[in-house]
Amino acid sequence: MIDFDRNATAPLRPEALAAMSDALAQPWANPASVHRAGQRARARLEQARRGIAAALDNGDGALVFTSGGTESDALAILGMARGLRAAGRSCGVACSAIEHPAVTESVAMLRREGFTCVALPIDRAGRLQPDAVAAAVAATPALGVVSFTAAHHELGNTVDVAAMTAAIRAAAPTVLIHVDAVQAAGKLPLSRLRWDVDALSISSHKLGGPVGIGALALAQHVPLLPLHGGGAQQRGRRPGTEPLVLAIGFDAAVQAAIVAAPREHAAMRASGQRLRAGLQALGAELVGDAEQHVGNTALVRWPGVDGHTLVIALDLAGFACSTGAACSTGVVEPSRVLRALGYDADAARGAVRLSLGPDHRDEHVDALLEALPPILARVRAATAAGQVAS
């Protein structure tokens, strides 16, 4: 099995495994406990927190551990909007229709709660243009939160975050800016300060840490209400006993990813380029921004080919990929992202997402490109027979 689904999850880095194996063998107390054993746990937790915060260039901001990318996004969107409302400030929310469901569904919850929610404009390639975004932000005085993605989970599109932030700040100086950096972390250099964002989400397992933990980096001044009640852990921003061993593994993975990032990203870009060129040679339409992209992700569609059937056929042939964001029920809806880009429902069922990791080599890409033609022909024939929705 060759894994072309690295945007779904990445293998555990050996550094994270070693750090966690070590930590698991030790009798940690609760980091919130008063006694000295608790103090030791707390000290280790804060060490991990500082390590990750430094990697994100978080300055004097807070770093909140969460259960993962989804919770980090939800905490940012819901927590900031509700916090602004509680403070009597403008609290409307703006994001594009192609954000990760962790963002769009949180915004949908806010809409049901009566918050003003507006869509940021995107073009047919899924690009957010700073002037168009600034115009949309300026046109909505009730806005309190703007959210966008640094590297898109399906398209691979990247945004020049600093330029986008500058445009938004010029249009609305008091608005809070959240950036979803879940797919960017470990691939692009991150800096909350240089990017000038108020909140930044990352997930541990996407960059080779353990599943079950993520982080939200926050500027000091951000009003944030927690998603649930509980104890005073993490200054009340995220009640609940902190998962110390996961935090240790997360930190180890982040440090390893930073050290390795330039080399890994160069490798990913190279094999990603080979993959994109090869897929196009096989008649694929590459969806998304052809210039500004993260390098490891290719969202492709072949007209007349059902994407879900293709994913199954590729799996049975030894290649793991996906039709987009992983879906727990196994049922694949037409890609929300493609629909938002203007594709009709049938076309939006045709897309397949291939995503690479740093360990992919040319021969892995070539094996896929070699296996594809007969599989494509079979799936296309079935689709053409009118039997499989295309």
Binding site: I312, L316, T329
Partner: protein, 348 residues
């Protein structure tokens, strides 16, 4: 694989015979397609999808869910509502087998590079001849007559020679989690067996006027009003219970007249027919001409000896003995001994 014991054991049997087996589960509808909350599980509800996944994980088979909700809605649920609104009694299982379960799945099977489709139906495929199952009490050949010869040529029914008891025992031996799961009785997309609610919900979703369905009169064959009904879509030709006509002789629904929202009832003898017209004929091995067949007119009903005159897409059935409860919209299936030669949809 529906998540039920039959398709699970079918998969296990093929695997044990050395075949490369992949489990496919069709997601056919969303909960609440008819009304609010589902009561209990039925075939292909999300809980059943999970069960199919569990079974495949236990057997070590890959498992995939394919989304056929749109096709199922178009080919099965909407015509189901149309039929009841037009006074017919639909046969959604056969429609599903005709339009959803076989040809589209077979196309996927070929797209995945496989040779054949297998299901947990109780029926036999003997070299392209569709036969009744060995377990007569579970035989499902009646629902399969419309699957078409092409689909039949590439379909296997591993349970055709098994009894249900043997299947359950085998499932228990394999330790499958659904070995004791109750048989599904109701239609998968009709919660609580209340088809009237589903029909009303679908028609309302299409902004159709439910007042066209009732209330209306219940009359006898002489035209005398003997009661009232609250919707023609709630009754089925041949139905006896639930008519609320008070005491007296047993009365059956003879006809439903949508144009006047009228339900005609009558005695058992009035409800019996000996001549049945059949349309949209599906042939498996059925030349034109006059044939001596056993004709089955309902699921679980005994087949009745008859002369069948086949002419193109139409057939006329002359039953040796009159049968009651022959409902337009149901299937008439022609058996030559155990073999299904074809069938069609009862029009009158």
């Amino acid at each position: 694989m529906s998540g039920g014991v039959d398709s699970s054991v079918a998969a296990a049997l093929l695997q044990a015979q050395g075949h490369e087996v992949v489990g496919l589960t069709m997601r056919l509808y969303d909960a609440g397609v008819g009304h609010g909350q589902r009561r209990g599980g039925s075939c292909c509800s999300p809980a059943e999808v999970d069960l199919a996944r569990d079974v495949c994980a236990q057997l070590g088979l890959p498992h995939y869910v394919v989304d056929e909700r749109e096709r199922f809605a178009q080919a099965v649920i909407e015509p189901f509502a149309d039929d009841y609104a037009a006074g017919r009694t639909p046969n959604p299982c056969t429609r599903c087998n005709q339009h959803v379960k076989f040809a589209p799945l077979l196309a996927r099977v070929r797209a995945l590079g496989f040779d054949a489709l297998a299901t947990g139906h109780y029926a036999r495929n003997q070299g392209g001849a569709l036969l009744r199952a060995v377990d007569a009490s579970k035989d499902q050949s009646y629902f399969l007559f419309a699957m078409g010869p092409d689909a039949l040529a590439h379909t296997q029914f591993p349970l055709g020679t098994w009894t249900k008891a043997e299947v359950r025992a085998h499932a228990a031996t394999l330790g499958l989690p659904n070995a004791d799961a109750p048989d599904s009785q109701e239609l998968c997309f009709v919660p609580g067996d209340d088809h009237g609610e589903v029909v009303a919900a679908r028609l309302q979703a299409r902004a159709q006027d439910l007042a066209a369905l009732g209330p209306g009169d219940v009359v006898d064959v002489a035209g005398t009003v003997v009661g009232r009904h609250d919707g023609i879509h709630r009754v089925t030709v041949g139905q006896r219970r639930g008519l609320h006509l008070g005491g007296g002789d047993r009365r059956y629904v003879l006809r439903v007249i949508p144009s006047s929202r009228t339900i005609v009832v009558g005695s058992a003898s009035e409800a019996s027919v000996s001549r049945v017209r059949v349309a949209e004929l599906q042939r498996l091995a059925l030349p034109d001409g006059r044939h001596r067949f056993d004709v089955q007119l309902r699921h679980r009903a005994a087949a009745t000896p008859a002369w069948v005159e086949v002419d193109g897409a139409l057939a006329t059935v002359e039953l040796d003995t009159p049968v009651h409860g022959v409902a337009p919209g149901q299937a008439a299936v022609f058996y030559d001994g155990a073999r299904v030669r074809g069938g069609g949809w009862i029009t009158a």
